[in-house]
Amino acid sequence: MTIASTAAGRMATGRTLVEKVWDSHVVMRAPGEADLLYIDLHLIHEVSSPQAFDGLCLSSRTVRRPDLTLAVEDHNVPTDSLLVLDPMGKAQVETLRKNCAAHGIELFRLGDRRQGIVHVVAPEHGFIRPGMSVVCGDSHTSTHGAFGALAFGIGTTDVEHVLATQTLPLPRPHTMAVEFTGVPAADVTAKDLILALIAHVGANGAHGHVIEYRGRAIELLSMEGRMTLCNMSVEAGARAGLIAPDQVTYRYLKGRPGMPDGTTWERAVAHWETLRTDEDAVFDRVVRIDVSALTPFVTWGTNPGQAVPLASRVPTPESFADAQQQAAAHRALAYMGLASGTPMDSIEIDTVFIGSCTNGRIEDLESAAAVLRGRSVAPGVRMLVVPGSTEVRHQAEVRGLHRVFTEAGAEWRLSGCSICLGMNADRLTGPARCVSTSNRNYEGRQGLGVRTHLASPAVAAATAVTGRLTAPSCLPQRGTV
């Protein structure tokens, strides 16, 4: 019997990776209803949890699974001391400590060597494994999709729901394959791949979908690179972004704290090996991007989709297809103080930020240090290097990276969310212009009136050397600067 391809697709029995992980967490399913999904790990932090614990308390409810809940202090912490001086930030941190103590929840607090940004800490301590479901009151929870886990951000009401029930009622998502075809050049990083994707599909281009990233370029990425990529899935409007686990994943996991060993490890790997999209599975949507000719990307505007190759120019609003995008471009150019046609690599910056849950891991610091070694931060430029966790800071010091940064004139700081968002003591004031390895270039994200250009750690480091947006390949030879 011959069936037209679409119909055949609909009738196929094969499932995508996303559907397999989803289905394995369904506690209850009824026709026309949301699925009740079990949550394997609930990450919490001080900003989005206090009202959830309050609600729990008011209803005389308890935390169902404190043993599946991990708390970390990250958003409000300073990165130049271990003391939270801001009274409101301090109250949030103290409230988290009180709530964790009352409910028996493990907390990696400021001053603990396991503290750091929640999305850096959870994987490095072995809490993220393939096929899990993970939630957190933070949109960048999508990071953990790098392990083939279904991981997504939730609001405070849902945090309370998970605390009380360890489940969430959720409508089944649409699936979207993002196929990176070709092999990228050596100076193209995971950050460039994701910025290029968001520029291609738009800041809401993956709305309502869970992405599966596929292709040779993905297989070649380290776990750190995969986390960078999945981290910014939400900036494309996706609910989550996943990568099928492989040997790279298992190598990263093996031997981490609490990881199973012996036959349990072998059974786990055998299960994880089934977590890949079946050949006859059908995605609701497929996007293909050829990355063989890709070059480093940076943002020019005020949402992560407003990005172009660093070697190109600030676009003209008229170059966009629809009136909404044109209006957005006009607004963005006005806020960013940029003129259309300006070469991107002529834009002068005064601040460089290396860190965040997007690019605050050891590989990111290595990449920045490799560019900075034997070079200096340009006069008038302030560079902050903020390790994503206390463990990353320690690893970097063992490798001597901190000396590369400090000798170049950068600040070597403690771990935390820092100036990714204008919330803690690290804050910029407008009209500062910052090249940032973080994830959002929204108006005022890093401080009122501050202009943000998102880029990879390598581009950020090269930019620190020249004081204007610069690709590492365009830097003069060492010793000539």
Partner: protein, 212 residues
């Protein structure tokens, strides 16, 4: 929560796309411990401009925000919904929403209604032309009405039912305790659990008060 069947009120048009939750409420205002008291910081950055729509006296009692596409994109902060609600908004109409924002909105009784771009544009023109034009958002009938305009919208069945009946979602889920417990027994032994451990202090060099 009280049952919610429909809302009728005045509209105000915010003609911008991709309005992220950082604009709705900046991170520095998300340090409060409460679920209310955020009206003063709604769109704090934009409200510094006297010409900003929410500063117009004619729109001071608007309860329906007519926005652009991808409203509420970005951060999962529920404070954005609390701030809109505290200001007096009961409904946001847009051609599309950030997923987490829309979910958060319904959980707080703020209706996030998705309508096609031309319909949103017509509503925006209508409220700009006459700030006293009434808009009705009928959750029971799944319809938006204003003057001669009448347009159906869709809402996820569960979210709608919870609002129409004013149900406590956690209580609804807790009623399924047996199913949850049964599921828990089937979970893989390779899954992690989080033990309670004592503080492991950072090494003295890191604990120095001031750093390099």
């Amino acid at each position: 929560m009280k049952p919610l069947l429909e809302h009728t009120g005045y509209g105000v048009a915010l003609r911008r796309g991709d309005v992220d939750t950082d604009q709705i409420i900046a991170a520095e205002y998300c340090k409060r411990l409460t679920k209310s008291g955020y009206a003063d910081v709604l769109f704090a950055g934009w409200r510094k401009d006297p010409a900003f729509v929410l500063n117009r006296p004619a729109s001071s009692d608007a309860s329906i925000l007519v926005a652009g596409h991808n409203f509420g994109t970005g951060s999962s902060r529920e404070h954005a919904v609390w701030a809109l609600r505290d200001w007096g908004f009961a409904v946001v109409i847009a051609s599309s929403f950030g997923d987490i924002f829309r979910r958060n909105a319904f959980k707080n009784g703020l209706l996030a209604v998705e309508l096609p771009t031309p319909v949103v544009a017509e509503l925006a023109d209508r409220v700009d032309g006459d700030p006293r034009a009434k808009i009705t958002v009928d959750l029971a009938g799944l319809e938006v009405r204003s003057g001669g305009l009448r347009h159906a919208f869709a809402v996820e069945a569960r979210a709608r039912q919870l609002l129409l009946e004013g149900l406590d979602e956690i209580a609804v889920t807790l009623a399924q305790d047996r199913a949850i417990t049964t599921y828990e027994k089937s979970r893989g032994d390779w899954l992690p659990s989080v033990p309670n451990t004592p503080l492991r202090p950072v090494c003295p060099s890191t604990a120095k008060r001031r750093l390099i």
